[in-house]
């Protein structure tokens, strides 16, 4: 017991003496643990909220859209094998002026069944009340829209749907499982103020939309074990005569897909980052304990001479490593809980669940903790093993003096070309190659993390510039409820402020090649269009060639096709035949999967004559208000977007979203660089303090001594830069792959600014470590070295 106490006391004293080194290593472990805890906890919280909300509101499994299907088909749809329930509704879109907003908002009006509690995709009331089923002018609104557009209960709004004005009073705010995340159709970014979703009793919507006894959207609840593919096929078959478009499963539902992508990203964070931290922490524990064991070799020999076993003699060092692990784990748990709560706060702004409580994932914490303590123990075990294996007699002798050799440098650099201080630096590096290697690897890992994360800002700039200033050059775009004659563009051209307008025909499609199939969007453009162009990798506009299609490079990649190959195109809007078309070129774009073709070719395929589904415009900025008021009065125009709004919203959302995660990355990377730099320099100082004090006595200034000590760190830091840049680019390309969604692919663009940001953060972390260690040179005891043997 007495012995145990003695060793405990030694443990506490060592911890205190090495407190900064312990802190630096524990910080790394804490980072690893906290990322794991944060990611798994956030995932757990989101999934719990998602499960509960979907279950409470009976979120559907399959969705379909038609132009106008009679209610009698609902019975046929319900009889499809595997369908447990079908819920048919009316959904109409229009534009709407919201007081306080310049640009018109999109209004989606959805019919409520007589008994809302018996349907699918139920809304969840969070404020006010549900509309009176008999009322023709009451509606509930999506709470996110009300919050963002500053619309209050009791406000009256008017939209034009189906050619008729529909005016209603907001009586309640609701949340909906279909609109947990509401991206704007243009940018895939949330734009809540311009995304109005309203639910009104069926009679009111029916009357405005002119869909008496009919529906145009239907959702399905499937029985357990049902075949989704079979249901989709049958739904398409039944709805085909009624203008049915391709039915889709939950995984393709916009809001759900965004949520799932976010959950996947959390798993990526949890898988990529923590191992980096643990490996670096284990390496540092190894270096620190190796030095400690080296300095205490004689004590180990003494303990063994007293009759301690190898294990008992090794125990203090293993316990020290374990203690470092435990300190890190506790810090990581606290930090992870805090980060989890912080990220939950961010998610609340994106994902609207009635309840989104922060969770703490204990199993993830325990798993990360165990891995951390084991990593620390493994690091120290390797260092201690060699020392405890020595016989006591050998261990008690002072270690053999360090044997240096003339190394590579001496062969390369002639005798007097290098000063002795620099020579000392190089010889030390050559003598401890493992330590130098571990240090370079650790610093390179830190820089990689910086380079591999900071690129996103430059990439976003590139993406915005490419998408909104080079490929698309319109200032405003409008969408039609249904296709209109191409000549209607001339009406639009006459609206106030419009000085250019080009028609566009967009249709949903399935593209097949090489046995693969992808859902994509066909964009039919004018051959001489100037407001939207397909650009190649070099940014040059690509001309259309006959019937040929131009594919998004990403889509071509998924289908494994190249220019010259053919693809089978099935347009799912309307009744176009299935055709095989040649691919003539690939376009570089970053959002969605597009098939570009000449509008005339698309119209010919669909046999609809000269029609357009929307138009892209140049609108004079000072006349924008008048332009908007004019299009609000045109019932056929159901969507309006502005490039400036889209870009500024994009920037706002992205910067907000990435500011937090990039702050984590910078913080974590700085922690690694600091931890590695501090520990290596601190160890170097403890080994060389006698040499340095001797040099001080011999007339070296503190600055010159600092150079000898920290020059090594400088060399290692410089050596880490090329490796870190290479690793960072590899990490960036991995992250681009991992984080790319169908809706948004990040281009891998490294800019001088992002490199500069990474290198500065890297340099600052190393400099901080250098200053902390360098300060100790000022406190060297010069007198002591005169009398002590090493």
């Amino acid at each position: 017991m007495v012995i145990g106490n003695m060793l405990d006391r030694k443990l506490l004293r060592d911890l205190w003496r090495l407190k900064w080194q312990v802190f630096a290593i524990a910080l790394l472990i804490a980072c690893g643990v906290s990322v794991t805890v944060m990611a798994f906890s956030a995932q757990k919280a989101l999934m719990a909220a998602q499960d509960r909300f979907y279950e409470d509101t009976r979120f559907a499994d399959v969705f379909a859209v038609a132009v106008r299907a009679p209610m009698s088909t609902v019975a046929d749809l319900s009889r499809i094998d595997g369908v447990a329930m079908a819920d048919a509704r009316i959904m109409e879109s229009g534009l709407m002026q919201v007081p306080g907003l310049t640009r018109p908002a999109i209004a989606r009006v959805i019919s409520l069944p007589r008994d809302e509690t018996a349907g699918l995709n139920r809304v969840r009331l969070s404020q006010g009340r549900m509309p009176d089923p008999a009322s023709l002018d009451e509606a509930v609104a999506l709470k996110t829209f009300m919050d963002a557009a500053k619309v209050k209960l009791g406000d009256r709004l008017t939209t034009v749907i189906g050619g008729r004005a529909f005016s209603f009073r907001i009586v309640g705010a609701v949340l909906s499982p279909e609109y947990v995340f509401v991206p704007s159709p243009e940018s895939f970014m949330p734009d809540d103020a311009h995304q109005g979703v309203f639910w009104a009793p069926r009679p009111a919507v029916e009357r405005s939309a002119g869909l008496n006894g009919a529906f145009n959207v239907v959702a399905f609840d499937l029985a357990p074990g049902a075949s989704v593919a079979h249901v989709l096929q049958q739904v398409d078959r039944i709805l085909a005569p009624y203008g049915g478009r391709a039915a889709y499963a939950r995984e393709d539902q916009v809001s759900h897909a965004f949520l799932e992508a976010e959950l996947k990203e959390l798993s990526t964070s949890a898988a990529v980052l923590p191992p980096v931290f643990l490996i670096v922490a284990a390496a540092l524990v190894h270096l620190v304990v190796s030095r400690l064991v080296e300095a205490e070799r004689e004590q180990i020999g003494l303990l063994k001479a007293f009759g301690y076993s190898d294990y008992q003699a090794a125990q203090p060092y293993l316990r020290l490593a374990g203690a470092v692990g435990v300190v890190g784990v506790i810090g990581g748990g606290l930090l992870g809980g805090w980060l989890g709560a912080a990220i939950m706060e961010q998610y609340r702004a994106y994902f609207r669940f009635p309840v989104l409580d922060p969770a703490f994932d204990w199993p993830a914490f325990l798993m990360a903790s165990t891995a951390s303590v084991l990593a620390a123990l493994a690091g120290s075990a390797m260092a201690v093993r060699a020392a405890v294996r020595l016989s006591p007699a050998v261990a008690m002798q002072p270690p053999r003096p360090a044997v240096y050799r003339q190394g590579l440098l001496d062969r390369l650099v002639p005798g007097r070309a290098i000063d002795q201080a620099s020579r000392m630096i190089v010889r030390n590096l050559e003598r401890f190659p493992l330590r130098a290697g571990l240090t370079v690897a650790g610093l390179a890992a830190s820089l990689s993390l910086l380079v591999g994360s900071q690129f996103v800002f430059g990439s976003f700039d590139y993406l915005v510039d490419h998408a909104y200033y080079r490929a698309q050059r319109w200032s405003d775009a409008v969408g039609f409820a249904e296709v209109r004659a191409g000549r209607s563009i001339s009406e639009i051209r006459r609206l106030p402020g419009v000085f250019a307008a080009e028609p566009l025909r967009v249709a949903a499609a399935r593209l097949k090649a090489n046995g693969r199939e992808e859902r994509a969007r066909v964009t039919g453009m004018e051959p001489d269009a100037t407001l939207q162009r397909a650009l190649d990798r070099q940014g040059r506009p690509i001309p259309f060639q006959g019937r040929g299609v131009i594919l998004s490079a990403a889509l071509a990649g998924r289908l494994d096709v190249a220019p010259g190959d053919s693809v089978r195109l099935d347009i799912t809007d309307g009744a176009a035949p299935s055709v095989v078309l040649p691919v003539t070129a690939l376009a570089e774009d970053f959002s969605g999967y597009s098939i570009y073709m000449a509008r005339a070719e698309l119209n010919r395929l669909m046999a609809e004559g000269d029609v357009a589904s929307g138009a892209q415009l140049l609108v004079a900025p000072d006349l924008r208000g008048r332009f908007y008021r004019a299009i609000e009065a045109i019932p056929q125009i159901v969507a309006a977007s502005s490039r400036d709004d889209t870009v500024s919203n994009w920037r706002k959302v992205m910067i907000e979203a990435f500011r937090v995660s990039m702050t984590f990355y910078v913080g974590f990377a700085a922690a690694i660089a600091f931890g590695v730099a501090y520990n290596t320099s601190r160890i170097a100082l403890s080994e060389r303090s006698r040499d340095l004090a001797t040099l001080r006595v011999l007339g070296f200034s503190r600055r010159e001594c600092a150079y000898i000590l920290l020059g090594e760190l400088l060399v290692l830091g410089l050596a880490a830069i090329p490796l870190g840049l290479l690793g960072g680019n590899a990490l960036a390309s991995g992250l681009v792959t991992a984080y790319s969604r169908d809706e948004l692919r990040l281009p891998l663009t490294q800019t001088p600014a992002s490199y500069a940001m990474s290198l500065s953060a890297f340099a600052v972390a190393i400099l901080l470590a250098a200053v902390l260690v360098g300060r100790r040179i000022w406190g060297l005891d010069l007198v002591a070295v005169l009398k002590t043997r090493e």
Binding site: R400, V403, Y404, R423, R427, G699
Partner: protein, 228 residues
């Protein structure tokens, strides 16, 4: 030096390491400081070497007042004027004999070459050996070469033979005496070893922080004539 006093404040109270020491040192003479452990001789050496400052009193080196010097001035003083020889050699293990000497000649104002310095201590054939490849006596002679290569005005040796056997110790003292004379340095050797006093011009005895005796050595011998 006049009235040199050094008091260390410790938890156990004030320790008087030097109690008002007065001493004049002549250019080029060889002084031996004798005295038991804790008598204050090393403290005196440290203050003379610019490693420490007295608590009271004055130390003048030529016209420079060491007691009033800044840290930077003391660093320059050590760099230009003082040669140090330590009991445990304190060579830089990662540098060869030549490089250990070059370490100092690179920062000195008017040094001899490392080869010349090592030649003077009889180590011309060990230029490219690392400390670990040299015997204790050879290492200490490298230290002597390192100390005198800058042509110091004052050479301070703290128990230079303390960790050497008699034969090696004699060779080291021989080297110190010879090269100190050649460069005209004033030498001060702190020692436990009474025998060493034979090579001095003057012998100073210390006890309890004060000089008890300053004796001229009328029978000065060369180190080669000594044995211990």
């Amino acid at each position: 030096m006049r009235g040199l006093t050094k008091v260390y404040e410790t938890e156990a109270g004030a320790v008087h390491a030097l109690r008002g020491v007065d001493l004049d040192i002549r250019q080029g003479e060889m002084l031996i400081l004798l005295g038991p452990s804790g008598s204050g001789k090393s403290t005196l050496l440290n203050i003379l070497g610019g490693l420490d400052r007295g608590s009271a009193g004055k130390v003048l080196f030529h016209d420079q007042d060491l007691t009033a010097a800044t840290e930077h001035q003391l660093t320059l003083y050590r760099r230009r004027s003082v040669g140090f020889i330590f009991q445990f050699f304190n060579l830089v293990p990662s540098l060869t004999a030549r490089e250990n000497v070059a370490l100092i000649t690179e920062i000195a104002d008017d040094p001899m070459t490392p080869e010349e310095a090592l030649d003077r201590v009889g180590l011309s054939d060990r230029l490219d050996h690392f400390p670990a490849q040299l015997s204790g006596g050879q290492q200490q002679r490298v230290a002597v070469a390192r100390a005198i290569a800058k042509r110091p005005k004052i050479l301070l040796c703290d128990e230079p033979t303390g960790s050497l056997d008699s034969e090696a110790g004699v060779r080291v003292l021989d080297a110190i005496v010879d090269v100190a004379r050649e460069v005209g340095a004033t030498s001060m050797i702190v020692s436990h070893n009474v025998e060493v006093a034979a090579i001095a011009d003057r012998v100073i005895r210390f006890r309890d922080g004060a000089i008890t005796e300053v004796a001229e050595n009328r029978d000065k011998r060369s180190p080669g004539e000594m044995r211990w």
